[in-house]
């Protein structure tokens, strides 16, 4: 079975990079001799979510995309922490072996930003696509937002959830890839069914009873309590320029103002650009416009 989507190009290469004992899946487009760009995807996405952005960047750069631990074709860890995910990005940068631009979307934008703080000598420029963290009303990682209660109660809920769900290998299967895509569309109504079918083709696997996302169910509850605004103040130490990108359409997954402006105020060398007619997934909704802004920014080194 094959699948296609307008403008989507499959990566030319695929390999694994070791990080903290895990095998992380990295795919690649473009000329190996060109300046590298590393793409880091968002929560519950995978590297192939860049199949429409990456080929546009690959006209000029060597483009690599990482499957985060627990996502796509990368290994699943025993537990999750923000620091370990950031060190995975650092380890991929070390594996690339030369200074690299990073472009991260959503949670991947936050990871890219913190990797740039920990490994500034490995990062040329940074693009953060609507990856400024959830609003402060949510205490938890994105998957925990719906849980109400005091912080100690939330931690007790995490204990209970971990005890009963840690061995789960998947969520409920969908009978077909089409239905899996349709279910995803309820969460991401701005994305077309055609794209989500393409996305599911590479992001799902078949088990008895149907299709499930490759993502580790534990990844949704593994972070423990966390507040992203605790880390934004550290962005003042970023040594490279950052381009902050977002779409002008309201989207439940993006971070609206005033929080976005409050957090970005910490970045010393900041540029901002807004993509018209797009929501949180601007690189998928408007790949040509997003690529143009990214190439223009990265090209100014």
């Amino acid at each position: 079975m094959e699948i296609s989507y307008p403008g989507a190009v499959a990566p030319e290469k695929s390999r694994f990079v070791r990080s903290l004992g895990l095998r992380l899946h990295v795919v690649e487009w473009g000329d190996e001799r060109a300046t590298p760009v590393l793409l880091t995807h968002g929560f519950y996405d995978h590297a192939r979510s860049f199949d429409t952005l990456a080929p546009r960047l690959a006209e000029r750069f060597r483009v690599l995309a990482l499957d985060s631990r627990g996502h796509g074709d990368s290994d699943w860890p025993d537990a999750y922490s923000w620091l370990a995910d950031v060190l995975d990005v650092v380890n991929v940068l070390r594996d690339i072996g030369r200074p690299t631009h990073i472009v991260g979307h959503s949670r991947g934008g936050g990871l890219a930003t913190d990797a740039a703080l920990l490994f500034p000598e490995g990062v040329l420029r940074l693009v953060n696509i609507d990856g400024f963290g959830p609003p402060p009303t949510g205490w938890e990682a994105e998957g925990m937002r719906r849980y109400e209660g005091t912080v100690p109660e939330l931690l007790a809920a995490f204990f209970d959830w971990r005890r009963t769900n840690v061995e789960r290998r998947s969520f409920r299967p969908s009978p077909s890839l089409d239905e899996l895509a349709a279910r995803r569309r309820q969460q991401n109504p701005r994305l077309s069914l055609e794209w989500l079918r393409y996305f599911a083709f590479y992001g799902a696997r078949e088990i008895e009873g149907g299709f499930v996302w490759k993502v580790d169910p534990y990844a949704a509850r593994g972070f423990g309590p966390w507040r992203p605004e605790w880390i934004a103040p550290a962005w003042r130490r970023l040594r490279m320029p950052m381009l902050a990108l977002w779409g002008d359409q309201p989207d439940a997954w993006g971070l609206p103002d005033p929080w976005r402006s409050e957090r970005l105020a910490h970045v010393p060398a900041l540029e901002r650009a807004v993509v018209a007619g797009a929501g949180h997934f601007l690189h998928i909704e408007k790949p040509a416009e997003t690529a143009r802004l990214v190439v223009d920014f990265l090209g100014r080194t």
């Binding site: 631990r69 699943w76 860890p77 999750y80 922490s81 620091l83 650092v90 703080l117 534990y218 507040r227």
Partner: protein
């Protein structure tokens, strides 16, 4: 020593003092182990258990190296549940003692499980000793960058070190002190061993809670105060 399945790995639970009486679960400091409590166990009137945190001693290293105080607290919660099911258990609840990282974990567990934890004694020690209003781990100056490289390098060498160097991610508190306070407010009884020495900001914030008490600096004497909470 008994190995318990907790999450996706196993942790080692040591019985340091058998017999009837109230249960004490001891939680060691960063880089320590259950054996740290051998001397102190004699000062408790009931049973004493001690946990090796994941990445330490007889417990597994977490595959992928993701350690957080919340994860250690989940493991300690597993140990508490196991103790509650033991045939000799006379109590549905236990007391906790923790040092450093273990003290922070005891605070989290006492706040998250007030029905299971009668009281917790917090002692100074290594781990979670930094932090403050400006979060440390992602506020990296040169020093922290060097720490990260040491951590990565140490995890790549053989033979492997005595404890997982990724645990150094638990050295500093990435949360502002107001994160600790609701746990202190929810806990039934907290004893803070005070010797006049400096304490991390989370400690200062937690000991402002209504049911927080000062305890003697001497650990054995503090344990005697704790045992009164167990009866």
């Amino acid at each position: 020593m008994k190995r318990l399945a907790s999450g996706r790995y196993e942790i080692a639970l040591h019985e340091l003092r058998p017999g009837p009486g109230p249960v004490l679960l001891a939680l060691h400091a960063l880089g320590g182990g259950a054996h740290d409590w051998t001397g102190l166990a004699a000062h408790w009137l009931g049973r004493v258990y001690a946990l090796d945190f994941a990445g330490h001693g007889g417990s597994d290293w977490a595959r992928g190296g993701s350690y957080t105080p919340e994860l250690h607290a989940a493991d300690a919660d597993t140990a508490l549940a196991e103790l509650g099911e033991a045939p000799l258990a006379e109590l549905g609840e236990a007391c906790l003692v923790g040092a450093g990282l273990g003290a922070y974990v005891a605070l989290l567990l006492a706040g998250a499980r007030p029905a299971r934890v009668a009281a917790a004694l917090l002692l100074p020690g290594r781990g979670l000793d930094g932090g403050g209003p400006a979060p440390r781990p992602f506020d990296p100056g040169e020093e922290l960058n060097a720490d990260v490289w040491r951590m990565l390098a140490a995890r790549e060498i053989t033979p492997r070190p005595a404890f997982d160097p990724m645990l150094r991610g638990c050295e500093n508190d990435p949360r502002p002190p107001d994160y600790a306070r609701p746990f202190a407010d929810a806990a039934r009884r907290l004893l803070f061993a005070e010797d006049g020495g400096a304490r991390p900001p989370w400690w200062e914030a937690a000991r402002g809670a209504q049911r927080a008490e000062r305890a003697p600096a001497d650990a054995a004497a503090a344990l005697a105060v704790l045992s009164s909470a167990a009866r």
